[in-house]
Amino acid sequence: MSEIANTIFSPQTAARFDHLVTLYPVKRSALVPMLLYAQDDIGYVSDAVVTEIAQRLDLLELDVRNVLSYYSMLRTKPAGKYNVQVCTNISCMLRGGYEILDHCKHKLGIGHKEVTSDGVFSLEEVECIGACCWAPAMQVNYDFHDNLNTVKVDEIIETYRAGKGKDVK
């Protein structure tokens, strides 16, 4: 039972949020992770998400928007079901990161921050994801895939397309 009537979140997420706000010495501390978990649940940080989170944390919606627009993982438009994030920062670049990015662009037929027409995939060029020693690397949603080459990328994408890819949130 959520603390908020008519919550827009799934029962699990709503219950998680009810708990989250009780953890910290100051309620607002829950804001950044809450926005990310809300995005995991709804797909993106919609206006309704902003409204409910502001309500849960006793904040102005403006406060929530100020914070939300700061963090690069948070998006205000839907992404694909599987968001492919290719790192092109220095260590990955040296080992073919751009080749992987280009390959993904061609394979999925979309560019940076675009979504395939069936809504299954979206593509993003991202900054360093902390997998430098296993470069080139990418994340599909939160799962890391490293030591990539184009053949491996094809396999990974096909696995997700078949609905068999790892997707832990």
Binding site: D47, L60, L62, R65, N66, S69, Y70
Partner: protein, 424 residues
């Protein structure tokens, strides 16, 4: 706080411990430039213009965040410091539009003044400037994004100063932008808007022409106005306002009200009425001469002499035929104490009546009587800044100056205030 001694540009200075270096220097006549520093608002150290050289410190330090300390030795204008300021200005000017000839702030712009002083006139960049269309946030507030230098004065003024929190900072890095509280997608016209009381304080605080006033913009140049200091007539608070008055072919026109010089009891504060509600002065509907109702019911304009003669005659008739007690006198709420005194004296000694009252916006008579005989029974605006607690009874929101004095400090103590928190 005990005084500390320190040296700035070779001069021995003294200031209470804890005074910020920028303020201590200002008191001693040494001006340190700054965009983001604004007295009374939280510290930012963001514009990096107030950098100074302090002995024993490895880097240049911001004078706006450094409290003076015993024995501190400071340089405020050296080639190194001038270069740092010049470089900062060059960076700002890289994207700042050079529309000064039509910008409202032209001639009273802090960026212009500093560019003039530090000579950052040379341009390094071949890339086009980032252009964005001007936005009308409200009838009172317009935002010109490319002109904004992100000093955050408006955001703090709105939040910490006014307790309204209608402005925020969004995005990050070179995309960072001042944002109003109604985003475009939630607005019927798909444009961002400002939902607030339209006090216009953000416009006054803006050091450049990024925020401009809907009533003033593109009307004149600052140097074409006479700046007349006066007292606002809209309520009993008595705030000081500066009216920008421009000559016209048939007299003069008030084009702007503000309080940028921060004089008067209101400091830098001015409410929306004080700032915008001067249009009555030149209104065609304004009554500018006395009128006497005629037998057919119409009103006829007359001279003051005629009007006084007529009024005197009628009052005398009343007093002589029905007695003074048939007359009552009501003072207006914009009379000064001296005028009110003269009015009652006139009523008692000339009209022969004790029926004297005033236009009541608050029952001050009862209040004053209740407090009579008590010591220290009244307090001034300044007192509200220093007392540990203020009890508010029957809050009157139509005295915005008083409200502004008391309210932000009440609702927004530093440990809770969002922006104030930056002081830590």
């Amino acid at each position: 706080m005990p005084d500390v001694k320190f040296i700035v540009d070779g001069k021995q200075l003294t200031a209470p411990a804890g005074t910020l270096l920028i303020d201590a220097c200002k008191s001693a006549g040494i001006e340190i430039p700054a965009f983001c520093y604004y007295p009374g608002l939280s510290l930012q150290a963001a514009c990096r213009m107030c950098v100074v050289r302090i002995e024993k410190m490895p880097k240049l330090q911001t004078a706006c965040t450094t409290p003076v300390a015993e024995g501190m030795v400071v340089q405020t204008e050296t080639p190194e410091i001038s270069q740092a300021r010049k470089a900062t200005l060059q960076l700002l000017l890289g994207n700042h539009p050079l529309d000064c000839p039509v910008c409202d702030a032209g001639g009273e712009c802090e960026l212009q003044d500093m560019t003039f002083k530090y000579g950052a006139a040379e341009s390094f960049y071949a890339e086009p400037k980032n252009h964005r269309e001007e936005q009308k946030w409200s009838p009172a507030v317009y935002f010109d994004r490319p002109r904004c230098i992100l000093c955050y004065r408006c955001v703090r003024m709105c939040g910490e100063g006014m307790d309204v929190f209608a402005l925020g900072i969004q995005n990050r890095g070179s995309s960072a932008v001042i944002a109003p509280n109604i985003p475009a997608q939630l607005s019927p016209d798909n444009l961002a808007h400002l939902d607030c009381e339209q006090c216009g304080m953000c416009i006054d605080a803006c050091p450049v022409g990024a925020l401009t006033s809907g009533t003033y913009r593109y009307k004149t140049r600052p140097w074409e106005m006479n700046h007349v200091s006066t007292i606002c007539t809209h309520c009993g608070d008595g705030c000081k306002t500066t009216l920008g008055v421009r000559s016209t072919s048939d007299g003069a026109e008030i084009v702007r009200g503000d309080n940028r010089d921060k004089s008067g009891i209101n400091g830098d504060f001015l409410c929306n009425k004080g700032r915008y509600a001067f249009d009555f002065a030149n209104s065609p509907e304004r009554i500018t001469s006395p009128m006497i109702r005629q037998a057919d019911g119409s009103l006829k304009e007359v001279s003051w002499e005629e009007a006084f003669t007529f009024t005197g005659k009628k009052l005398r008739e009343l007093r002589d035929t029905r007695g003074g007690s048939s007359i009552g006198v009501l003072g207006g709420n914009r009379l000064t104490n001296e005028e009110a005194y003269l009015l009652q004296k006139f009523a008692r000694t000339v009209l022969g009546t004790n029926n004297i009252d005033h236009h009541r916006t608050a029952d001050y008579v009862t209040f004053a009587q209740a407090l009579a005989g008590q010591k220290g029974r009244t307090a001034s605006w300044r007192d509200t800044q220093n007392f540990p607690a203020v009890l508010i009874s029957r809050w009157r929101s139509h005295q915005p100056g008083s409200r502004n004095r008391v309210e932000p400090s009440l609702r927004c103590p530093p440990q809770q205030g969002e922006a104030l928190h930056r002081q830590h």
